[in-house]
């Protein structure tokens, strides 16, 4: 169980404070699939970075259940080390933590699952965008994370590759059952992936949507379409509020 209570993050720019995240409450049961969706600048990436420990909150608490929770993080860009082979990139977090043969086995297994088996010895610059994204995903999965954080991992990919990786991610989640927090600005992606969807605006959670629709989900399914409409409506209501109270809300 991962719980955020009243978490806030304020960045100081020269003469003013910018609240990137305010009063952020989130409770993640183990094995849940949560999506944070919102326009850029809404604080969704900040929330993810706080969960990963890449930033420290200005206020509030983030509590993880006891034990050393293994966290996997997938960045917006693949962020592979250009000097390492795909296999060594994928095993990056394991090196020095366990015996070499064990690392090799884990890496080979995950490369099989993710479909990069034939590219284990390739250099990152020899991969296509989709393959590099897969490698980034494999690197996060190889530690068998209990918490998997993904920051718009497929945003830069073409629509077809994105669709395939989305369904692969769902399959992987169904196999390993990590707790997933997935950040995206794409409402369709949010609805296809998440069981709980948080619409974010101006550093706040504006609205929460439960998504009980069974998988595999079809983007043209009427229920999916209805949920998308609801999220869009929530977003537009927020935009309307914002134009009534210009800028005060970010201070």
């Amino acid at each position: 169980m991962l719980e955020c209570r009243g978490v806030s993050k304020t960045y100081r720019l020269k003469d003013r404070a910018v609240a990137a995240l305010r009063e952020f409450d989130l409770a993640l049961p183990p094995g849940s699939f949560t999506v944070l969706v919102g326009p850029s600048g809404c604080g969704k990436t900040t929330a993810l970075r706080l969960l990963a420990g890449l930033e420290t909150p200005t206020g509030g608490t983030i509590a993880r259940s006891a034990g050393d929770t293994r966290v996997g993080y997938v960045f917006q860009e693949p962020r592979l080390m250009p000097w390492l082979s795909v296999a060594r990139n994928v095993g990056f977090a394991l090196e020095g933590r366990m015996a070499k043969p064990e690392i090799a086995k884990r890496v080979a297994d995950i490369l099989d699952v993710i479909g990069l088996h034939d590219f284990a010895q390739a250099r990152p610059d020899q991969l296509s965008g989709g393959m590099a994204s897969r490698a980034g995903l494999a690197r996060a999965l190889v530690t068998k994370p209990e918490l998997l954080l993904l920051d718009e991992p497929f945003a830069a990919l073409d629509a077809m590759t994105r669709r395939r990786l989305q369904s692969e991610l769902v399959t992987l989640w169904q196999c390993f059952r990590p707790t997933i927090v997935f950040v995206t600005h794409d409402i369709e992606e949010a609805v296809l992936l998440g069981d709980e969807i948080f619409l974010m605006e101006n550093g706040l959670i504006a609205e929460r949507f439960a998504n009980p629709i069974l998988r595999p989900r079809d983007p043209t399914d009427p229920e999916i379409v209805r949920l998308r409409r609801a999220i869009i409506a929530g977003f537009e209501a927020g935009e309307a509020r914002k134009t009534r109270t210009p800028k005060e809300s970010t201070q």
């Binding site: 990963a52 962020r79 000097w83």
Partner: protein, 260 residues
């Protein structure tokens, strides 16, 4: 320079052309052999120096000095650069005096180094170390500063300690500019070495040139010049080959920066 070793067939032609102009110039103007000996005389002198082992001795002495100075300054520069990256306070204390020292040409330090280290090997190696240190140090510092913070974050989320991040992410990503520093240092080291050997020395290529000048043996001076240039090119070439083999992701530029 760019195609010198890559495309092969051009540089021998250039060499032949230069030697031909040299030979023609000498025979047409009838210039004194004390001013500029002909290629044939230089070749004779070189054969003589090779046969009696004198050249080999001087080359060995010079190369050993260079290797020591280069290795010493590489170790020092890497240690200091990474210590700076790790401890900001250390950097703020040590950087100003280092920057001061950097402004002084190593050859200007020869008198002091002779006083402190004598006229033996320590003084020669000291000069080379001084000359090599700053290119390597600046290359490493620059490479560390330019490390992509996004890759460092990968280390953070992978649970790496600060030291591991330095060793496994910052060092490899700094390597290309470390390599540029090393190549510049190698060139600077050669210059400083020959300079040091011109003063208070009894062996080495610089000494050989100095001694030949005193004996009015211009042919030997020219041999020395050719040998130094060739050895410089050869070490740089070997160096690039070694780097290409050890770190294939580092793209090594050809030419130019060795003489920067």
């Amino acid at each position: 320079m760019k195609r010198l070793f890559a495309a092969g067939p051009i540089w021998p032609l250039v060499a032949v052309f230069i030697v031909a102009i040299w030979a023609a110039g000498v025979s047409l103007t009838g210039v004194s052999r004390a001013l500029l000996p002909s290629p044939v005389l230089v070749a004779d002198a070189m054969r003589e120096l090779i046969d009696d082992g004198v050249l080999a001795k001087h080359v060995r002495v010079s190369v050993v000095r260079l290797v020591w100075g280069f290795a010493l300054s590489t170790a020092l520069a890497l240690i200091v650069a990474f210590a700076f990256a790790r401890v900001a306070l250390l950097r703020r204390i040590v950087e100003p005096p280092l920057e001061f020292l950097r402004q002084i040409p190593p050859l200007a330090m020869i008198p002091l180094l002779i006083l402190w280290l004598g006229i033996g090997e320590a003084q020669k190696i000291g000069i080379i170390t001084l000359a090599c240190f700053f290119p390597i140090f600046l290359g490493t510092t620059g490479g560390i500063a330019q490390c992509d913070p996004k890759l460092i974050e990968v280390g953070r989320v992978s649970g790496l300690s600060e030291t591991e991040i330095l060793r496994r992410i910052v060092l490899p990503s700094a390597l290309p500019s470390v390599v540029i520093g090393l190549r510049i240092a190698l060139g600077q080291g050669w210059r400083a070495l020959v300079g040091a050997e011109l003063v208070a020395s009894s062996a080495g290529l610089g000494y050989m040139i100095e001694d030949a000048q005193n004996l009015a043996r211009t042919d030997i001076v020219v041999v020395g010049v050719i040998v130094i240039g060739t050895l410089g090119l050869a070490t740089d070439w070997l160096f690039r080959r070694a780097i290409a083999a050890a770190w294939p992701w580092v793209r090594v530029e050809h030419g130019a920066e060795t003489h920067a």
